[in-house]
Structures are given as structure tokens and as C-alpha cells.
């Protein structure tokens, strides 16, 4: 069992999606997250075990290396792809209830900003840690975030901004959300932000990296 989870974990950490993927070069021709997860399930490893002993720890390692600038976005995207491929095999177990979803995370890039890379990266890692992700897309106005918060009671809202110029619309969105729904938890992230800004606008967390968002979310579930 452990051998399977170790191998799946390694394939995710190294971004090895499947056997046909030429990346990483030192794993060429070897099975990736896709084949290993399928094989593990066939051999009786439980979906929960794969999620909790392979995928979640692997993405935590990737997140840590990203924070330390030892990995960069291309490599993290490959890891996220590998994890997503493994998740395809686990999806039925979420549906059947064998794996319990930790909660719903609603995410979007704030109004005026069309950049989605940070949002997507965070979404993939959060999904990989057992959360259901509802992606509102880019250029999301405050009303849409509020609407989603009402549609998914108990959800956590994530807002992303890449531009210094759109931090202002993030402030507006958080303030409007908190004005109407003071208990609604809101996480903010994006290159130009910091913890002071997050606190100033009333957000509950500044997620410096996708992994810090995952840790915060998991502490709530």
C-alpha cells in the first residue's frame, strides 16, 4: 500500500502526469499519476488513502518548495496537472460519499482583472486537498461573489488579483461582502498583496501561496 502511495506522491511532486509525458526527463517512460492511481485502486488501496497519504502531502511539498522559490509556476502547474489526473480516478468516490468533501471553495478574479493563472493554480491545489471548487472565472463583480456565497451556504470565498490597479476592486468586493455577510470567510491572494492589505480590507486571510490557502481551509473543515 505504502509503495503505491509513495509512488503516486512522487509522481505528483515531480509533475509526472502519465506514462506518455516526456516530463520530467528523468522519469521518461515510467508510469505517472494517472496509471499509478488506477493501479492502486485496482489493488485495493482506498481512495481516502490515496488522497490523504499521497496527493495532499505531495501538494503540500510542492507548495512549500514554491514558497521557497525552489519551484516555479511551470513546475507547479505540471504537479497540479498530475494531481488532477489522479483526481479523475477519485471523482467517483467523492460522488458516492466514500470520500467526504471538506467543503466548498468559491473562487474568482476580481472585477477589472482578467488574469487567471494564480486563481487556477490555487484552485487545483485546493481541489486536490479535498475541497469542491466553484470557479466564477475572471472579472467577477462583487454582486457575483455575494450571490455565490448565498448559493453555497458555509462556503469559503477566494478572491484573486494580479494587478496593483485591481486591488481597489478587491477592496470593494471584500467590503461589500462583509457589509452584507459579516461572518462570511474571505481569502485573498495575488502577487501585489500582503497581509497588511488583507487585514485593512477586512479579509480573513492573505494567502501568500496556494499552500497557505489550503492550510487555512483545512483548519476550518
Amino acid at each position: 500500500m505504502e509503495e503505491f502511495t509513495d509512488k503516486i506522491s512522487l509522481s505528483v511532486q515531480k509533475g509526472k502526469v502519465d506514462i506518455n509525458s516526456p516530463y520530467p526527463p528523468d522519469m521518461k517512460g515510467q508510469p505517472g499519476a494517472d496509471e499509478l492511481t488506477r493501479a492502486a485502486l485496482d489493488e485495493g488501496v482506498s481512495a481516502n488513502e490515496i488522497l490523504n497519504s499521497a496527493l495532499i502531502p505531495a501538494m503540500a511539498i510542492v507548495g512549500g518548495l514554491f514558497r521557497e522559490k525552489k519551484l516555479f509556476v511551470p513546475q507547479v502547474l505540471m504537479s497540479a496537472r498530475a494531481m488532477s489526473r489522479a483526481m479523475v480516478h477519485l471523482k467517483p468516490y467523492f460522488t458516492s460519499g466514500e470520500i467526504r468533501e471538506r467543503g466548498v471553495f468559491v473562487v474568482g478574479t476580481v472585477a477589472g482583472d482578467l488574469h487567471d493563472i494564480g486563481k487556477n493554480l490555487a484552485s487545483m491545489m485546493i481541489e486536490g486537498s479535498g475541497w469542491r471548487v466553484v470557479d466564477l472565472g475572471v472579472d467577477v463583480k462583487s454582486e457575483k461573489f455575494i450571490e455565490a456565497a448565498r448559493e453555497y451556504p458555509g462556503c469559503i470565498i477566494g478572491m484573486s488579483a494580479l494587478l496593483t490597479t485591481t486591488m481597489e476592486s478587491m477592496e470593494k468586493a471584500v467590503r461589500e461582502m462583509k457589509g452584507l455577510m459579516p461572518d462570511q470567510k474571505v481569502i485573498v491572494g495575488g502577487a501585489p498583496l500582503n497581509a497588511e492589505f488583507a487585514q485593512r480590507i477586512g479579509a480573513d486571510l492573505y494567502a501568500q501561496t496556494p499552500q497557505s490557502a489550503v492550510s487555512f481551509l483545512n483548519s476550518l473543515s
Binding site: 516555479f72 511551470p74 502547474l77 477589472g112 482578467l114
Partner: protein, 382 residues
């Protein structure tokens, strides 16, 4: 000796000290409109309105130079517009056959395509035909392009010179091949392709670099002092220094050498964290570096940057437009700027500016504070 604004900037770019530290910030489109309150659609599309705005703001805030962030305005831009609808004050909807644009004083226009375009897979890209030999667009932001009218590519430069009587240092701007690559493939596919399809990426970058180099070389024939190469996604927040050396540096270097051969200065601008690649940026052959965001947006210490690359490059920066100019109280804003002036004036070539462009809601009073401080504390000993 009293320098003209233009001489002041040129002297700093030549790694010498003029009478005082030159001041030259780049405005975001939103900040320009917040100060000028123009028709937002006209400000974006009409070259004369844009040039008048640039000249007015430079004079109003006592800057020494003007960065022309958009060029190639078409005098016939209204021909393709089907309707301009005024919404509330400072907001207009502009309708075209295939898209609608929302222009507002708050920032860049938002574009809504009637048919959503999908980025081609890198394997499907026909390098010969899909990548233009003649660059006719600027990838301004995600999903937003500025079309360059090839018959009027550089009309704005003589217009500005005429409006300002050549008083100010005028700089053009081009975009890095790396940005064109990411724009063409989409950020996600583009970044993944660096490791999955490196050779194909390089072929695409080489084609873009040739076209951008032609554009830059031709821009050098105008009465400008420098060209800025904008490369917002080449920092530590996105790619490793190894990828920078492989996918950014060689292509910018090729363009830089063509600009330098025409006798103009050239500086590179990469947002965010770039501390680990300052030497690589210096190796590009550029005459200057712009931006150098301080924490939290970036991680550059100005003094350290001067120590490492300041003998061969001028530095233009590095005021934090958001945390020092927009959100800080007066005392902190002033103290942050004075620290930067003090550090910068010890270097060989320094131009005081915001790191990234001035955020839209920064007040006129705060922008004006910059010239007051630089006149008070940025003087060089004769």
C-alpha cells in the same frame, strides 16, 4: 548649471549626475484618466487626445520625461465603431461588430468578445503564418490588445515633441517576445510549454523577437531618447532564473543590441520579485533597469541593486505606488520616497519613479509631492 528636463534624464541614463535626481513616473491608464477626466474611449483610441494627456500630466507634475506606453493610434478608429454609448460619468461602452468594450476612468478597458477566442495548442501553431512578421498589436493585458495602425505607427512621437517643444525626454515602449508568447498560448499553456515544448517555444520567440526588433529599430528613428522593454511575467513569481536565461534573455538581448546600435538607450521592466536575476538582466546589454519593486510587491533592495548592477546600468524606480503612494499616510509616504531618493542619488545613474505604474486612485497631491521632495532632497553637489 541648470539642466533641462530632457538633459537631466539623458545625463542619468549616461550614468552621470545632473543638477538633481530626475523624476519620471509611468502612469497607468487609469491614473491618467483619474487626473484628466477625459472621454475614456477617446483617451484610449485618439492619438492626439492621448498625447495631449501625456504632455499635460508631465507638465502638471513637474516630471522630466514622458513614457509613451501606446503608439500606433489610428486616425480612422471611429470607422470600425458602430456605437459609443455614454453610461454614467467616466464610463462608456464602445460597440464594434465583433466585440464590446467598456471604457472607464478606473483602469484599462474591458473587452467582451462576441465569440470567445480559444488559444491554439502550441503543436498547432504554424510559426510561419500564425506569428506576424510585422508586429501590428501590443498585448496590453489579458484579453486586451492595442492595434498598431501600420500607416501611423509612430505619429505620436513627433506630435509630442511638437507639443512639448522637445523639453522632455520622450521614451517609447515595446513588449518582450516572452509576453507575446504567453499571450498567444495563454499563460497556463505558455508556462507549461517552456518545459514540455522548449524548442517550439524558442522558435516562436525568435520569430516574435525579429518582428519586435524591427519595430524597435524603426521607433529609434523618432526623436526619442530611450525605449522601455516591458516584460511583466519574467520575474521570480513565474519563472526560474534558468528559464529566464533560456527563454527571456536571448530574445531581449537581440532586440536590445539593435536599439543600442541605433544610439538609443533601452531599459527593461519586469514586475515583482527579480532579486535573483539582476545580473542576468544586466547581461542583456540594456542600459537601464526599471521597476525593482520593493517588498511586498517585489524583493529588491535598492542599495543592493546599485552595488550589483549600478556600475553598468541606470536604475529607474522604485517607489511602491500602492503601499507608499496610495495607502500610506503623509508621513510614511514622504519618508519612503526620501529614503529612495537618498539611496538613489548615491548611485551613478538614477531616475526617481514609481516601480510599477502609478495606481489609478493615487491622488494628484501625492504625485505632486514627488517633485517637491526631489527638488528639496535630490540635488547633486555641483
Amino acid at each position: 548649471m541648470i539642466y533641462t528636463p530632457r538633459e537631466r534624464v539623458l545625463t542619468a541614463m549616461n550614468l552621470q549626475k545632473p543638477d538633481r535626481v530626475p523624476l519620471m513616473c509611468q502612469f497607468s491608464i487609469g491614473s491618467m484618466m483619474q487626473q484628466l477626466k477625459p472621454s475614456p474611449a477617446e483617451f484610449w483610441y485618439d492619438g492626439r487626445v492621448f498625447a495631449e494627456g501625456l504632455a499635460e500630466l508631465c507638465s502638471r507634475f513637474n516630471f522630466d520625461g514622458i513614457l509613451v506606453s501606446l503608439h500606433g493610434h489610428s486616425p480612422c478608429w471611429r470607422e470600425s465603431v458602430t456605437e459609443i454609448r455614454d453610461l454614467e460619468e467616466g464610463r462608456q461602452e464602445v460597440f464594434f461588430k465583433e466585440r464590446t468594450e467598456l471604457h472607464s476612468w478606473s483602469d484599462l478597458p474591458m473587452v467582451y468578445q462576441l465569440e470567445k477566442s480559444i488559444n491554439k495548442d502550441i503543436a498547432e501553431i504554424d510559426i510561419e503564418n500564425d506569428i506576424p512578421s510585422v508586429i501590428d498589436y501590443i498585448p496590453v493585458s489579458a484579453g486586451l490588445y492595442f492595434k498598431i495602425d501600420l500607416q501611423h505607427k509612430f505619429d505620436i512621437f513627433p506630435l509630442l515633441t511638437e507639443m512639448t517643444n522637445g523639453k522632455y525626454s520622450i521614451h517609447g515602449e515595446i513588449t518582450s517576445p516572452f509576453d507575446y508568447l504567453l499571450d498567444m498560448l495563454g499563460y497556463e499553456q505558455g508556462l507549461i510549454s517552456l518545459i514540455m515544448e522548449p524548442e517550439r517555444c524558442k522558435a516562436i520567440l525568435a520569430k516574435f523577437a525579429a518582428g519586435i526588433g524591427d519595430l524597435a529599430e524603426e521607433m529609434c528613428n523618432c526623436d526619442i531618447d530611450a525605449i522601455k522593454i516591458s516584460s511583466p511575467f519574467a520575474g521570480m513569481g513565474f519563472i526560474s532564473p534558468e528559464h529566464y536565461a533560456e527563454f527571456v534573455l536571448p530574445y531581449e538581448k537581440a532586440i536590445i543590441s539593435r536599439i543600442r546600435a541605433k544610439g538609443k538607450h533601452v531599459y527593461i521592466h519586469t514586475c515583482g520579485h527579480i532579486d535573483d536575476r539582476l545580473e542576468l538582466m544586466r547581461d542583456s546589454g540594456a542600459s537601464g533597469l526599471e521597476c525593482l519593486d520593493p517588498p511586498p510587491v517585489g524583493n529588491v533592495d535598492l542599495k543592493n541593486a546599485f552595488d550589483r548592477v549600478g556600475k553598468s546600468m541606470f536604475i529607474k524606480g522604485n517607489i511602491d505606488s500602492v503601499y507608499s503612494l496610495l495607502y500610506a499616510d503623509d508621513e510614511k509616504a514622504e519618508s519612503d520616497v526620501l529614503d529612495i531618493i537618498e539611496t538613489g542619488r548615491r548611485g551613478d545613474g538614477f531616475i526617481l519613479s514609481t516601480a510599477c505604474s502609478i495606481a489609478p486612485m493615487v491622488s494628484g497631491k501625492r504625485i505632486l509631492m514627488l517633485s517637491e521632495l526631489v527638488n528639496r532632497s535630490g540635488l547633486y553637489q555641483p
